[in-house]
């Protein structure tokens, strides 16, 4: 910290955090500011009680079943089906969010039109609307007697109480992530680069695919992966529209709830831990892809 270098002999309020015996490697750099011990102490205690202790329980409790028990619990047909459904539909929904998000982000950041700011603010509505509210509203819309559900029923498509219904709910909650990831990049994107490409004879499609899209790729991937991560764990907006038929429309978070109701704590923890592990693994893979693209973009 520069303060200490500037003011070597200044009085030190709340000294304990600052006056330290010189050590080879300090835990904290000296500073004139007080309250380091107090704020870090409170932060660590609070973090320990609210996050670390509960997650330790999540990490340890499945193993009460033993390794083979955990494998057995996760490969049981009903559990495997729920995990497949949750991760599969979340991936599909996140993929559809990519073109929808690109469309909205492009329109909102490149064109001026009446109502643009209102439309922009409304993009956050899926964040702002409590999940249970979104859930019952989407169900009412896509149920066989609902306004859109009845239209779809006429052409023989069942929306609510089917995987399609879950998919619609997941697209709804994921949309803001992609739009909000893309918007700042689109706004900052240097128009000169696009112009240069135009001067060099690129047509509008070439410019979009070869100039704009590569620049957007890292934030598009991060937006899509955020939408995916959110969709995998989503409960409230999905559980009403899903229908919750075992093996068919039962999502992984619901299975945790069911296992808890049967007092199968270890089984519930196993599913929870598997969800956290798979989400974490896919996020690491996506981060790797993003780094790769960012490096290639710079080269």
């Amino acid at each position: 910290m520069t303060d200490q270098a500037l003011l070597p002999s200044s009085p030190v309020p709340g000294g304990a955090a600052v006056v330290r015996r010189p050590r080879r490697s300090r835990f904290v750099e000296p500073s004139i500011l007080p309250g380091f011990g107090l704020s870090l102490g409170f932060t660590l205690v609070y973090l320990g009680v609210i996050v670390i202790l509960p997650l330790t329980a999540l990490a340890l409790r499945p193993w009460e079943l033993g390794l083979s028990g955990v494998v057995h619990a996760l490969t049981a047909p009903r559990v495997a089906a729920a995990l497949r459904l949750s991760f599969g539909l979340s991936a599909l929904a996140a993929l559809l969010n990519a073109p929808l998000g690109l469309l909205l982000a492009w329109t909102l950041s490149r064109y001026q039109f009446p109502g643009r700011r209102i439309l922009d603010a409304l993009v956050d509505l899926p964040f702002a609307l409590p999940t249970a509210v979104a859930g019952i509203a989407l169900t009412a819309i896509y149920a066989p007697n609902g306004p859109l559900g009845s239209l779809l029923a006429k052409v023989g498509i069942k929306a609510a109480y089917s995987p399609l219904g879950i998919f619609i709910a997941l697209v709804f909650i994921g949309l803001p992530f992609v739009v909000r990831s893309l918007q700042p990049v689109l706004q900052d994107l240097d128009r000169e680069v696009e112009e240069a490409a135009q001067t060099l004879g690129a047509n509008s499609l070439q410019r979009a695919v070869m100039v704009v899209l590569p620049a957007l790729a890292p934030s598009l991937i991060s937006g899509v992966s955020l939408a995916f991560a959110r969709a995998v764990g989503e409960y409230g907006s999905v559980v009403f529209i899903a229908g919750n038929l075992p093996m068919k429309t039962e999502i992984a978070p619901l299975l945790i709830v069911i296992k808890l109701e049967q007092y199968d704590y270890a089984g519930a923890a196993a599913v929870g831990l598997a969800m956290v592990a798979i989400s974490f693994g896919s996020l690491i893979a996506i981060n790797g892809l993003q780094l790769f693209l960012a490096r290639r973009g710079k080269a």
């Binding site: 910290m1 303060d3 003011l7 309020p13 750099e29 500073s31 004139i32 500011l33 870090l40 409170f42 932060t43 609070y46 973090l47 996050v51 670390i52 202790l53 509960p54 997650l55 329980a57 999540l58 469309l103 909205l104 329109t107 064109y111 001026q112 439309l119 603010a121 409304l122 993009v123 956050d124 509505l125 702002a128 609307l129 409590p130 249970a132 509210v133 859930g135 019952i136 009412a140 819309i141 909000r180 918007q183 700042p184 128009r191 696009e194 979009a208 704009v212 764990g233 989503e234 409960y235 409230g236 978070p253 945790i256 709830v257 808890l260 007092y263 704590y265 956290v276 989400s279 974490f280």
Partner: protein, 289 residues
């Protein structure tokens, strides 16, 4: 893309000067937003008032609904200030000091964002449920956490844990510690420095974080659903009350309660947008969630 053929400029291009494609894209965006996002909002209010104003008012004035509203206010009234205090403390030590293991701490603070709400409820049952680590001890000492208000508060705190911290940390890192150092050198006490220098510098970001934290706390469903037990009038928060009524086929009641939550969401959205427009410079985490 058509937009690229018009002259470059910082301002967005006026749609009226653009030919077909821009118009088409704007219409497509409006349709996506209307069908996917606005229709659910409209449905909530439409269905809530479908049997008239009288039935609507009856639904939100019945004792269970009032109890649910009180419980929601109580739970968020405890959770939000605690997470706000944590956010300020965490931002203070992370942004104003250099210490080892900071990046690990930052990762841990973000962790609850990537957890399913159901898992955020599950972990408390694993600790304090009948067969939880502390279950027997709690039963022996007649302390109830799961299926009681304490459990609802713990689940809500975990789900909304990073909101305030995430808004404050990047802002306070940008601001640095020079102003505080100057105040302290001139003889101000640590507390005076915090109240007169730090707090005014972060007030809008703090308000922004508290706003988002509160909206999520009041609307949380998955996490509280796991620890609640759904005891009507006792452990049902407003979102859980919506579920109970919906499962009882009381659709007007469910949508009436939902309309209160949707209004909360709309008010949050308006305040959030107003903060972003007026104080963009003072919200480092502008546009992030």
């Amino acid at each position: 893309m058509t937009a690229a053929t018009t002259p470059a400029g910082a301002k967005p291009i006026s749609a009226s000067r653009l030919p077909g494609l821009a118009f088409l894209l704007i219409v497509a965006s409006a349709v996506v937003m209307a069908v996917l996002v606005l229709m659910p909002l409209f449905t909530v209010f439409h269905d809530a008032f479908s049997k008239g104003l009288g039935k609507y008012l009856d639904s939100i004035r019945e004792p269970d609904a009032l109890a649910a509203m009180r419980l929601t206010l109580l739970v968020s009234g405890i959770s939000v200030p605690l997470n706000a205090a944590f956010g300020v403390a965490a931002a203070w030590c992370i942004a104003k000091f250099e210490f080892r293991g900071k990046s690990v701490l930052l990762t841990l603070i973000d962790l609850p964002f990537s957890m399913s709400p159901v898992v955020s409820g599950l972990v408390w049952v694993l600790l304090f449920g009948a067969q939880g680590w502390f279950g027997t001890w709690l039963i022996d000492h007649d302390v109830k956490i799961i299926f009681a208000t304490t459990g609802l508060v713990l689940a809500t705190i975990l789900v909304t844990f990073p909101f305030v911290a995430r808004e404050l940390i990047p802002l306070m890192q940008d601001q640095g510690a020079d102003e505080e150092a100057a105040a302290l050198t001139l003889g101000a006490s640590g507390l005076t420095t915090f109240w007169k220098i730090t707090l005014p510098n972060i007030r809008w970001a703090l308000l922004y974080g508290v706003l988002l934290c509160n909206a999520r706390a009041m609307g949380e469903f998955g996490a509280v659903s796991v620890v609640s037990g759904h005891i009507r009038g006792l452990t049902t928060t407003l979102p859980l009350h919506v579920e109970v009524l919906y499962n009882d086929y009381d659709f007007v009641g469910a949508f009436a309660a939902a309309s209160l939550l949707a209004s909360l969401g709309l008010v949050t959205l308006v305040l959030k947008t107003a903060l972003e427009w007026r104080h963009a410079g003072e919200l480092a985490a502008n546009r992030r969630h």
